[in-house]
């Protein structure tokens, strides 16, 4: 069997102008322009997008789930970062 060995790309689609691109999946292609063509056929067959980003999967740097506690736990007890933390007396408006 001949091997394909095309790299894997991650695909991001902007559903309509005004929205950010969102990860929708991945695909294989020989290069980035073919990846965009394939993404058009694979992820926008029903008008799901107006813009496509592709990036080779190997170029994405990701956080390690094993470190998620160290990364994200410090935010959990800082409830004063949310507006609901503060007292607003009855009758005071526009705060």
């Amino acid at each position: 069997m001949s091997r394909q060995d095309w790299p894997l790309f991650e695909v991001f689609i902007r559903a309509k102008s005004g929205l950010s691109h969102r990860h929708v999946g991945s695909l294989h292609a020989a290069d980035s322009s073919m990846a965009i063509d394939h993404a058009r056929d694979l992820y926008t067959r029903r008008g799901e997008g107006v813009s496509i980003w592709v990036i080779e999967s190997k170029d994405i740097c990701a956080s390690d789930p094993a470190e998620s506690t160290a990364l994200f736990e410090p935010a959990e007890d800082k409830i004063y970062r949310h507006p609901t933390f503060y007292e607003v007396p009855d009758g005071v408006e526009n705060l």
């Binding site: 001949s2 394909q4 060995d5 894997l8 290069d31 789930p65």
Partner: protein
């Protein structure tokens, strides 16, 4: 889209290497309906079970293009041809979403494709039946896609994130498949006596294989308990099959055609249809490679793959040349 409980040997429990504490934590996450993502720790057996299920599912989509593709050039009208083309293209897309989901578990696309082409991998038994008339295209959309939807909707809540997300996309696209099939049946049943006979004949041939798509009965299905515990599977094969029968029989009544099952009858008390014995011998024969079209399907895939080799090679050579030029 076509998944099937093929119920091959599951990969037992955890291996000794799997740390008991991590295993417990994993199960707690699953029990709490948290999704498991590719880089998260998971038991080796969970990974293997998913790779097998998702890749079989992907292979089924790809092979599933063949029986219907057989009718694209002979579709009765331009409208039907455009619809059938779109449907078959969707099946290709579904296969690709699923291969990508399987790859997040650390297997390569090329290995998965090789497994299909060398006959090592299984795919849904239903695609080893021939499409003899145009009515078969209707019956496939109505029954085969109908059964697939029944199987796939619970998979949208599967514990493995990439599989669940692929299934959401697939299910969204799938309902048109079932409706266009039913519409074909409807047109035939409203047509001449000969057309209606054609619809009945297609139902006769596809009904039992469609019921087999849910996999062996629960008593035979020894390995689904683990898949249930891992929340890969949400309902048993028999539960899903019963649900399918219950929703499909009234649809046949509306068409004015009959399921080829003399034992089919409504059970007032249980509010379910009772149906006859499935010929499991036939199911296992087809699965073992002895169905009417197994050899033809595999040969068609092999030919498509080897015939397309030069395109893949040319694209790779072109990409390499472009990147060399960009670097220079």
């Amino acid at each position: 889209m076509y998944t099937q409980g093929l119920d091959q040997k599951a990969d037992g429990g955890a291996t000794a290497a799997d740390d008991a504490a991590r295993l417990e934590q994993f199960q707690r996450r699953v029990d709490a309906e948290e999704k498991i993502e590719p880089k998260d720790w998971m038991p080796e057996a969970y990974r293997k079970t998913l790779v097998r299920q998702i890749s079989q599912h992907a292979h089924s989509e790809i092979v599933g293009m063949l029986p219907e593709g057989n009718w694209i050039t002979r579709a009765p009208t331009l409208r039907r041809k455009a619809i059938l083309l779109a449907k078959v293209q969707d099946e290709a897309g579904h296969g690709l979403y699923l291969y990508s989901a399987a790859e997040t578990l650390g297997v390569s696309r090329d290995d998965l494709v090789d497994q299909l082409l060398t006959g090592k991998a299984k795919y849904s038994s239903i695609f080893n039946y021939p499409t003899l008339t145009w009515a078969d295209v209707g019956a496939i959309g109505w029954l085969v896609d109908g059964a697939a939807i029944m199987n796939q909707i619970p998979l949208c809540r599967c514990s493995y994130g990439p599989y669940a997300r692929a299934m959401v996309r697939v299910c969204k696209e799938e309902s048109f498949h079932q409706r266009q099939g039913y519409e074909i049946m409807l047109m035939l049943c409203r047509g001449s006596a000969e057309q209606k006979r054609m619809a009945q004949d297609a139902l006769n041939r596809w009904w039992w294989p469609a019921l087999m798509m849910f996999g062996p009965g629960d008593a035979e299905s020894k390995h689904s308990a683990q898949s249930m515990a891992w929340k890969i599977k949400r309902f048993s094969n028999d539960e899903l099959r019963q649900k399918f029968v219950d929703v499909t029989v009234p649809q046949a009544d509306h068409l004015g055609i009959k399921m080829p099952d003399p034992d089919l009858k409504w059970n007032e008390e249980e509010e379910h249809y009772e149906f006859g014995e499935i010929d499991w011998q036939e199911f296992f024969e087809v699965l073992a490679g002895n169905g009417p079209c197994n050899k033809e399907r595999l040969a068609a895939r092999q030919e498509a793959h080897s015939g397309g080799a030069w395109v893949r090679e040319a694209a790779a050579a072109y990409a390499e040349k472009q990147s060399r030029r960009a670097a220079a």
